[in-house]
Symmetry: C2
Subunit: 402 residues, 2 copies
């Protein structure tokens, strides 16, 4: 069971989470819980860091941020013990979440969860700090955004849990963001592939990495609401099987946290794109969509999108490599949004893309970049048109709930 920062934002909520955990433990389940930092703690720590150093070293940033979850696990253990049940907390380092040494975005390489299994045998509720791990030589790392979900799924795989329940302040996975589309409905089941595409294109319920991990280790994820009764189901994310009804389009997602970077006057010769995106990769920038315009007089333009959080890394990477390759200028456009339609049934239904473009065109929405996968179509549009686009597509693909 994994509870995010909102679910443990204060002592009152911690007590409610504690009660929920004890209820499950008393029902006979072995309970392992992963928690994030309380409410805005991580943001506060980041604020402090930037006061100390506008460009803080990532190793020290991980040293700092990992304290947020450590506070949560200790307080949750105390809250459970107060309600009369045994509990024990472990940091990521203690529980043996071994990562690579890419500070602030570390990847889990191995889990030695022996101490979890041992504590479960002693009938304790085991509390593990999300978002963090350690390198083989004992350096503290954090897993980056969505890291607590990844911790939960990885632990579930490591201890062969029956399921990994991810709790948050939403009921489950929706056909679109219900704040924007009032007629959006909760999905009962979503395949890993659909969930991956949804996470990659803006659905905030689960991080993409955690879904990848779940798919690779066949962990069933159950997305649920933290404070609704235990018999209210959420959305199950699992491997596709023939019993699943493949909706042509299951969901419409949007993401306003990306920025579009355009490099102009790039010499059009082999190896240039490799050089640019190689450098970006070395700087741990998650490049999303890439488009290269046709060449004009031996020069071309390259556009790509990346998370706004990565813009500092993008800037330093481009400053180095553009000088080498001799591009003319580059600029960043933050006023963009990505709108996507996702559905496993898309694979066997041609014409979906055309239908999407038509629906958007009828609303006068201009498409900037387009990218597709077998089960997704994404368009970059102006940020202020994102909500309209989502509503139009939700209706166009028959997702509106009666």
């Amino acid at each position: 069971m994994k509870f995010g920062g909102t679910s443990v934002a204060d002592i009152d909520r911690l007590n409610r989470v504690a009660a929920r955990l004890i209820e499950r433990a008393k029902a006979g389940d072995d309970v392992v819980v992963v928690v994030s930092a309380m409410g805005k703690v991580t943001d506060d720590l980041i604020g402090l860091a930037h006061q100390a150093n506008p460009k803080p070293c990532k190793r020290e940033m991980d040293m700092l941020l990992s304290t947020g979850e450590q506070v949560s696990i200790a307080l949750l253990a105390m809250a459970i013990q107060k309600q009369g049940y045994e509990a024990v907390s472990f940091t990521g380092a203690q529980v043996g979440i071994i990562t690579d040494s890419v500070y602030s975005k570390a990847k889990i390489v191995r889990i030695d969860a022996a101490c979890v299994l041992e504590a479960l045998i002693q009938k304790k509720i085991v509390i593990v700090a999300g978002f963090q791990g350690r390198t083989v030589d004992g350096q503290i790392t954090t897993l980056g955004r969505g890291g607590s979900d990844t911790t939960a799924v990885a632990l579930a795989a490591g201890i062969k849990a029956d399921a990994c329940e991810i709790y948050s302040d939403v009921d489950g996975v929706y056909s679109a963001d219900p704040r924007i589309v009032p007629k959006a409905h909760k999905l009962d089941t979503v395949s890993y592939e659909e969930m991956l595409e949804m996470a990659a294109s803006g659905a905030g319920v689960l991080s993409m990495r955690s879904v990848e991990f779940a798919r690779n280790f066949d962990v069933v994820i159950h997305c649920r609401h933290s404070f609704k009764p235990a018999d209210v189901p959420g959305t199950i994310v699992r491997g596709e099987d023939p019993s699943m009804e493949d909706a042509v389009v299951s969901a419409v997602t949007h993401d306003t946290n990306e920025a579009k970077i355009t490099i102009r006057g790039v010499p059009d010769r082999p190896g240039i794109a490799a050089s640019v995106f190689g450098t970006l990769g070395q700087n741990n920038v998650n490049v999303d969509m890439i488009i290269q315009n046709i060449s004009d007089a031996g020069l071309t333009d390259i556009s790509f999108t990346a998370p706004e959080d990565d813009i500092t890394s993008v800037t330093s990477a481009l400053e180095i490599c553009l000088k080498e390759i001799g591009a003319r200028t580059w600029n960043i456009d933050r006023d963009i949004a990505k709108v996507s339609i996702i559905g496993a049934g898309m694979k066997s239904h041609p014409g979906i893309t055309a239908k999407m473009f038509k629906a958007l065109a009828e609303e006068g929405i201009n498409l900037d970049l387009i990218s597709t996968s077998p089960i997704r179509v994404s368009c970059i549009i102006a940020a202020d048109q994102a909500e309209t686009a989502v509503r139009v597509l939700h209706t166009a693909f028959g997702l509106d709930q009666e």
Copy 2:
């Protein structure tokens, strides 16, 4: 160099500490710095813990409190790096401060400071979290009050440092608390034995445990002011040697953080005291002074003093063992103070005790309990008479500065 919570209370002070460290490093010194949690962070965390559980489990308390220093070390590293010098931070667990498993009052059993020496070779300023360590099997522990001083001295011993400089908001060790005795003066040199007696009797500059550690491993301590120029000396604490001038009385100390516990109607037979104080010891209560009154009809009274912080442990220990031994009643008096005179020269000067009692009697100050060591005499008096007593004794023993 060790900086306490007041010296790192905010980013501005962290920057000043960083500048001071860099100055020393640039002067050619290898610099290792131990820091406490910032300002009131530990108090805030304790407050949170008590909201979660009025009687928090000590293991989880250590898990919680150790985050305070971890925040400090990361921010200090960032502040140093911003000023252009290399730095690296380590938690107590990472730096190999191995302790026993008495949570909240762990004792250091060993230091594996290999990573400190390695970072020093790389010309980095090494920052270590005070107050914390880990057990051999990786559980996080804290060292209890004054723990950061102990970390500093133990590390200094472990890496064979030339000296251990303890920085705080006072200039050094004074002949009495200058807030109470305006004529108090700073002592240039104090022997370990005197410092131990002073620490045990209320001088807050250094913790007793850190001085014991320093004596056992022959670490020279230099108590200094955090924000005075580097050439302003503080007080050196080191082994006694013939060149030291043995003042009959070096200092007058007082302590208002003790409570007096009196047990009435204790059966006067062998083994009773052993049972009472054995149980208190098992509960990690630091009993200070003990007095047993003469027996009356086979029953006697036992009084002792202990830190007010230990009263919860005292209460639970006494509730158990007094039932067994059949004592009548017991009570706690918090309105007491301990006033002490300390001086290595006392050993060879008889009559000091009488002089002390006379000076106090002339002010109408009643003595409740008395205890002595070869270089110290302590009296328990009413709390509201403590300041008068300190001033009277400071004058009586010729310590007032012209």
